[in-house]
Amino acid sequence: MELNVISYSKITNNKVIYKGNEVSIQRTESSWFHDIYRSLKLSYPKFFKMDHLSKAGFLASELLLQEEITDRETPKKDIAILLMNRSASLDDDRMYQKTIQDKENYFPSPAVFVYTLPNIVTGEIAIRNKIMGETSFFVSETFSPKQLYQLSVTAFTDPDIKRVICGWTDYELNNCDVFLLLLSNENKEGIPFTINNINNLYK
C-alpha cells in the first residue's frame, strides 16, 4: 500500500509552518496561541476553553486540514487520528493539581480536569471536523519517526480508513513541539510516507 503525506504543519515556540512555508503571525500583547488563532482568522469560541496541549494541537490541525476539509458538518468515518508525545497531559495536570493543593483554598476545577488526559486533543480535532474514525494517543520517551511510521501504517489496516492525521504533539514547561502530518492511501500527489521523510519534514 502506497502512502503519501499530502499536508503537514508545525508549531514551535516562535514559528508556525505549513507545508514547509513559514506562516506570518501578528504578535500582540496576547499569548502566542491566541495570536496564532487571530492570525489564522478562526472563529471557534471553544478554543479558549482548551488547555495548552489542545490549543497547540488544534491550531496545527486547522493549518493541516485547511485545504482538505471544507465541510465540517458531515461525519467523516474515513479519517483516523493518531498522536504521540512525551509529556502526556503534564502541563494541565499541574494546573489541576494547583486547584486541589491548598486545603484552605480547595476548589478542584472540572474544566481543567477535563484536559488531564492527553487524548482530549484528538477529541477536540474530531469534534471540530466531525471525524469519527479511530483515534489514539501514545506516550513515548522521545519522538520516534520509526514508531510513528509503524503505528500510522497499522491504522490503515481498517479498510474504511483513507486518511490518517498523525504526529507528535508535546507541550511541557512552556515548550511547544507540535508536528502533524496528513496521510492518504488514495495515491494523491504528495511526499512518500517513509521514516526518512518523516525525519526530514520534522526538522
Binding site: 491566541h34 469560541p45 479558549f48 476553553k49 476548589f107 478542584p108 476545577s109 472540572p110 474544566a111 477535563v114
Partner: protein, 85 residues
C-alpha cells in the same frame, strides 16, 4: 442587584474563558445555556464551583444548578438570598 449582576457577568466571562465576550454582550435576562452563550455541561459545573468559591453557596448536584443558572439575573437573585460570603 445591578452591581452584583455586573460582577457576576465579569466572573462568568473569566471562569468560563469567554475570551471574545464583554459584560455588555451578555443579556442578564437571556438563557445562559442552550442558545446565546452556548455553554455546556462542564461550564455548568464550573459555575457550581464559582458559587461556592465566591459566595459560599454549596450545591450538591448538577441538577440543582439547572434552575439557578437559567439567566444571570436569576443567578444573582439566588446569590443575594443564599450567600454566606
Amino acid at each position: 442587584m445591578d452591581a452584583l449582576i455586573l460582577e457576576l457577568k465579569k466572573e462568568i466571562i473569566e471562569v468560563l474563558n469567554l475570551e471574545e465576550i464583554t459584560p455588555e454582550d451578555i443579556d442578564e435576562n437571556a438563557p445562559l445555556f442552550g442558545e446565546g452563550l452556548g455553554l455546556d455541561s462542564i461550564d455548568a459545573l464550573e459555575l457550581i464551583v464559582l458559587m461556592e468559591k465566591n459566595y459560599g453557596i454549596k450545591l450538591n448536584n448538577a441538577s440543582e444548578g439547572r434552575d439557578i443558572f437559567k439567566s444571570v439575573r436569576i443567578m444573582a437573585e439566588y446569590i443575594e438570598k443564599h450567600r454566606t460570603k
